[in-house]
Amino acid sequence: MTAAAPAARSAPRFEPALMRRKLTGTIFYGACLASIAFLMLALALLLFDVLTRGLPWLDLDFLTHPPSARPARAGVLTSFIGSLEIGVIVGALAFPIGVAAAIYLAEYAADSRLNRLLQTNISNLAGVPSIIYGILGLSVFVRLANLGPTVLAGALTLTLLILPVVIIASIEALRAVPDAQREGAYALGASRWQMVRRSILPAAAPGIMTGIILAMARAIGEAAPLIIIGAFTFVTFVPNPISGQYTVLPIQIFGWAQQPQADFQGISAAAIIVILALMLILNGLAIIVRARLSRHIQW
């Protein structure tokens, strides 16, 4: 008791210093806003640069013509279709495999060492640079399996690339479903697969679909792995999905920018607008899908 009193007398008086602390807080808030403003500015500059250089070249002809050595006739038709073909095949492959793997890891796997290893492996694969997948695809699909530089080889490579991302996103979506759903299904006598298929998957659907669409968008924007595989071709015909030589939008953009004629810079920028629009549509689609599918979920 007596020890406290002298301590209280010699201890410094607590200064709330509210003004200073609030000021610091406001400055910090300003810094946060500034960072967002900076990011907005960067994005705006990017769009401004691309639009001013590319819009003059963006017309219906551009969208419906195949590429040409002459800027006036050049168009994105074949590379756009090449990108779509890749996107569709990748989505069609990654969807079942990715969701199946995620279901196994989230619902079926016991918490054993083997399964934790599988999961760690997949999250590591998600971080492997895309160019390494290109090297893998070159050796395995193009050479070993003798598919050659075709759409199929490119699509298989990109599927491997985005599969880990799809799996992780799907696992998150599945784990977000409350256990009550599972236990309720079991209580009604469902087997595990019945429980998953009828109770969990529909609930996790928004997250899963969003993950897949975003992964497809990523695959469509990738250039490096396909360059390694050899998707660098001038084609004026629509590529046959299985055996055809092809090119995709990012690579077409890259190739055009390297042509000597100055007009091709504008053509390249116009192609950039097309791919940005495609990305925007896919991202928007992901948002819409998530919103519409989650309408039915209530817990």
Binding site: L84, F232, A257, Q258, Q259, P260, Q261, Q265
Partner: protein, 337 residues
Amino acid sequence: MITTRPSRLAALALTATFAFAACGGGATPSPTGATPTNGGPTEPPAESMEPLSGTIAIDGSSTVFPITQIVAEDFQIEHSDVQVPVAFSGTGGGFKKFCAGETEINDASRPIKADDEGEGIACDANGVEWVELQVAIDGLTVVVNPANDFAACLSVAELATIYGPDSPEHLLWSEVRAGFPSEEVQRFMPGADSGTFDYFTEEINGEVDSSTSWAVQSEDDNTLVTGVAGDTYAIGYFGYAYYVENTDKLKAVEVDGGNGCVAPTDESINSNEYSPLSRPLFIYPDVSKAKERPELKAFIDFYLANTQAYSSEVGYVALPDDLLAAEVAEWEAAAGG
């Protein structure tokens, strides 16, 4: 249930794409020799009795690519059942595929190496019969900034000082020739695996791929243009086409190859007066396939008939008439019979 809209949408999209491919003419490549040969060996290309069809795969040099690209494009417009995909994995890589029988024509910015395992020897081993046809001439142009008024003409030896393997990291113009300003030379050059680089280093430095590594390199020649145009004391080199497109931003250096200073122009490159930096551009068609497949023969005929116009359009220098006539004769002798 998960079996609703999204997967149906995907199925629809898949079907649409395949339908697209089917009607877009993306058919499977026709097997060689399946199309019946037309009559007469010297028949003019476009007016044959039956429409030509088939796939002509072309690969090779990225320097020759722009010409082959235009030829392929116009040929496909006239013969819509023929597909001509043109890739550009490089002269060497292209020869490998060509000699393995995977492509019908190889674009090349240098002659084939007859005693190389991957090229000449492989072609012989696989029965790939080729003929070397020159289609255009490229004049490698050395450029400086327009404000550069001292380096109007450089000798081969001086170029070697600038770009040679022993060139120091910081080289001054005054070290290139006494009387030049004491400013650092800002060097630009094409990427080390381009044919342009190979040719320049061989002619100027004496050995392929032997070069200074203290230059700013780029695979994209447009970047080199920007670099040289943006720096008063810069120097760079690339194909003639890139100079022709940017005469307002660059100044071409006259090169003294031993016979006085020669500026790169259509005429001086055509006559080989601009030396040693004039280089021939070739295509190597598969002769045995051309004898069996009329569309391939027609394509080469078309190429040779139009190469002068197309090479100029792209920015290279057209062959002189007598040289072209010789190439046509060589082609007819090899494949016409």
